[in-house]
């Protein structure tokens, strides 16, 4: 069963999940996972392919709703509000819980419009000047401002892969979310671009609660303070990253960390 290290229960948890199950049609992808996500740390989900870590991540902003056959049960709370409850609109939820995808997916619009997209639909800026401020601030936080400030009207798709991914992070930041979900954000990038993304995650942690799914254990070790290991749809072990990587309790975690499978 799930091993949770001491002191992982969090009174101030940003996201609290209890007994979450996800089904794709008849197939169960996530089996009774409970977790508290701290607002102050970067939390990494690791595990072999198909273990359900991405599926679980997508529960937090209800992206599984876009898959017709997917069904989610259990309780997920954002700051104590049930995200499936009547008082939570999915549009509001996604404004509060941003997401960065595996493959950079800028819109085929200008760099400026890519960032302005979220603030515009959520009505965050009244005037063009406000929007300019948001765009500059988001790009600056994403570490992209200096590279693109002279060509904000160029297409977002014309940037390099790493720049596109930072553009997507800036886009997520622009609506000022509380949580940023990252689904293997560096797996389509080269090592230098990856390093930049990891640096960026480090800078953003503290300001936003960050949950990152990653294939790379080194990446989890580098960027996260909390790690959850998933296997076959179950959360096997959850604890401080340093503990998980140096002193795992579960045999399966140890096997995975030491590269015996996965």
């Amino acid at each position: 069963m799930t091993v949770i290290h001491p002191n992982m229960a969090d009174e101030n948890a940003k996201i609290r999940a209890r007994d979450v199950c996800v089904y794709y049609g008849d197939k169960q992808a996530i089996d009774h996972v409970s977790i508290d996500i701290s607002p102050d740390y970067v939390t990494a989900f690791i595990g072999p392919s198909g273990c359900g870590k991405s599926t679980f991540l997508r529960c937090f902003n209800r992206m599984n709703d876009t898959i017709p056959s997917a069904r989610v049960t259990g309780l997920i709370e954002l700051e104590g509000d049930d995200i499936h409850g009547d008082r939570m609109d999915v549009v509001q939820l996604r404004a509060r819980v941003g997401m960065v995808f595996q493959k950079p997916n800028p819109f085929p619009k200008s760099i400026y419009e890519n960032i302005a997209y979220g603030p515009k639909i959520h009505g965050l800026a009244e005037k063009k000047a406000d929007l300019d401020v948001i765009v500059e601030r988001s790009l600056t936080r994403a570490g992209l401002w200096d590279e693109v400030k002279d060509r904000l009207e160029d297409s977002g798709t014309a940037l390099s892969g790493g720049q596109q991914q930072r553009l997507c992070i800036a886009r997520a930041i622009a609506v000022d979310p509380e949580v940023i979900l990252m689904d293997e954000p560096a797996s389509a990038l080269d090592p230098i671009a990856t390093a930049k993304i990891e640096e960026l995650i480090d800078e953003l942690s503290g300001r936003y609660a960050i949950v990152i799914v990653t294939h790379s254990m080194q990446q989890a070790a580098r960027v996260s303070q909390r790690t959850a290991f998933f296997h076959l749809g179950k959360m096997v072990e959850y604890g401080p990253t340093s503990e998980i990587f140096t002193n795992p309790i579960e045999e399966r975690t140890k096997d995975y960390i030491t590269g015996r499978y996965g």
Binding site: N61, M63, T66, P68, V90, V91, Q92, L93, R94, A95, G98, M99, F101, K103, N105, P106, F107, P108, K109, Y117, G118, I121, H122, T157, C168, R171, A172, V175
Partner: protein
């Protein structure tokens, strides 16, 4: 002897060559890897068969064209032909009759003068039939023998067979292209003749259309050949009224089908919509002429507009628009489906609603494909004939009022070419000039549309 018989002979000999080639190739089989044949026996077999069949087919094609001439010449050389009238209609009629009787397709001669020619015809035909068969067999044997002797274990039969098959496929695809060039050439030829009688300036910029078919070709009044009212009618009906109907309805149905429809609904509605594209346009024509046009006239009269016509441009345009809906919707459907789902997810994850995602991300991303679809639809609409022939007016009319009758280029082409004028009359020739203009415009639209689609595809691959 008909070409069919020759072809059957060729097939029979080809089969024999095929079997012989395969038998010889089988004898090459060896257990020693160093002496294993380069190609499999089946390719040796096909190599021989192709060498038999292709030369024979070429010969049959030529022979069936020249054999009748040879027969006629040999009949004319016979003593019986000395009685024939030297030239003209009668001479051809006699020859034709005698030939028909000799072939057995007519029971007897009508003109007794043709009677003496029947026997020479029969004789000549038999002679040339025998020659045809002999040459066919000779060619087949020569081709087959040549191929058969070339077969060796190290002979690369496969590459040769495949190259030949490729050439045949290429030839097949060239047929359509060459036909297009042929059409183009014939149009150009007749158009040039027409422009010899009416100046292109008059034709392209004149505003009065009313070819007088009764007047003699020498006394043509060029000012009656101004095609602007027709161009305007075509554009007004096909590119304006039809598109006002087709674009919104087509796009909305595409958006519904790709984004909102339940998969079960989609599996029913999409094919149904595509069936609309297969309805013969003449059926739309009935609908336009008998149902829509009177309804529009009555409605116009009811709200107090006088002078509304039952041949109004509106009726033809609206029905044409309905006909075009499937084209617009299916192209829009394809290009919206081609937008990567990562775009959609990215937008939804930003907290955009479904309709915001469609309006601000999917639609702009799919726009080039949609525009191309609309251009193809326009090119189809302006080339459409049956609906406008049945519902639009034969009288050209330069007006902005959609309730008045209007004519289109295609209507005039049909009208001018189904008349009884000689092909030398400028009225008839003007149909070719109209066709030429239409051809060029639709060609340009298709060309641009395909370029746009291609660039759009590259953007996502």
């Amino acid at each position: 002897m008909s070409p069919i018989t020759l072809i059957l002979i060729a097939i029979g000999l080809g089969l024999a060559g095929w079997l012989a080639g395969r038998a010889k190739a089988w004898s090459f089989q060896s257990s020693d890897p160093a002496h294993r044949p380069v190609s499999r026996p089946i390719y040796h077999a096909w190599y021989v068969a192709l060498w038999v069949a292709l030369p024979v087919l070429a010969f049959v094609a030529i022979w069936s064209a020249i054999a009748p001439q040879l027969v006629t010449q040999s009949v004319l050389a016979s003593p019986a032909a000395a009685e024939l009238p030297a030239f003209g209609f009668e001479r051809d009629a006699f020859l034709g009759e005698a030939r028909a009787v000799a072939q057995g397709s007519a029971p007897g001669v009508f003109n007794s003068d043709a009677e003496p020619l029947v026997a020479p015809f029969r004789e000549a035909m038999t002679r040339y039939n025998i020659i045809g068969v002999i040459v066919t067999v000779l060619i087949a044997v020569a081709g087959g023998g040549f191929a058969f002797l070339r077969l060796r274990p190290d002979f690369r039969a496969r590459t040769r067979v495949e190259r030949t098959v490729m050439a045949i496929l290429l030839l097949a695809s060239l047929v359509a292209i060459l036909t297009t060039f042929g059409i183009f050439a014939s149009l150009v030829f007749e158009t040039v003749r027409f422009f010899g009688m009416v100046s292109p300036i008059e034709f392209l910029f004149g505003t009065k259309w009313g070819p007088d078919t009764m007047v003699s070709p020498d006394a043509v009044d060029p000012s009656r050949y101004g095609a602007v009212p027709l161009f305007w009618g075509t554009i007004f009906i096909g590119a304006i009224i039809a598109m006002i109907v087709a674009i919104p309805l087509g796009l909305m149905s595409a958006i519904y089908l790709t984004q909102y429809a339940d998969p079960r609904v989609r599996t029913w509605v999409k094919p149904l919509l595509e069936i609309l594209a297969g309805v013969p346009t003449v059926v739309y024509g009935y609908f336009a002429a008998l149902t829509v046009a009177p309804a529009i006239r009555d409605a116009a009269v009811a709200i107090g507009i006088s002078g509304a016509s039952t041949e109004s441009a509106l009726a033809a345009g609206v029905v044409m628009g309905v006909m075009i809906i499937p084209f617009v919707s299916s192209m829009a459907d394809d290009s919206m489906a081609a937008v990567p789902s990562a775009m959609r997810d990215g937008s939804l994850a930003m907290g955009a609603t479904k309709s915001e995602t469609i309006r601000r991300v999917l639609f702009p991303a799919a726009l080039p494909g949609i525009v191309a679809g609309i251009m193809l639809a326009v090119s189809r609409a302006i080339g459409e004939t049956m609906i406008v022939v049945m519902a639009a007016s034969p009288a050209a009319n330069l007006t902005l009022n959609p309730l008045e009758p209007m004519s289109t280029v295609t209507v005039q082409i049909v009208k001018l070419l189904t008349g009884e004028q000689s092909t030398d009359h400028p009225a008839t020739l003007s149909a070719f000039a109209l066709g030429f203009v239409l051809f060029m415009v639709t060609l340009a639209l298709n060309f641009i549309a395909l370029r746009v689609v291609k660039r759009f595809r590259e953007a996502y691959e």
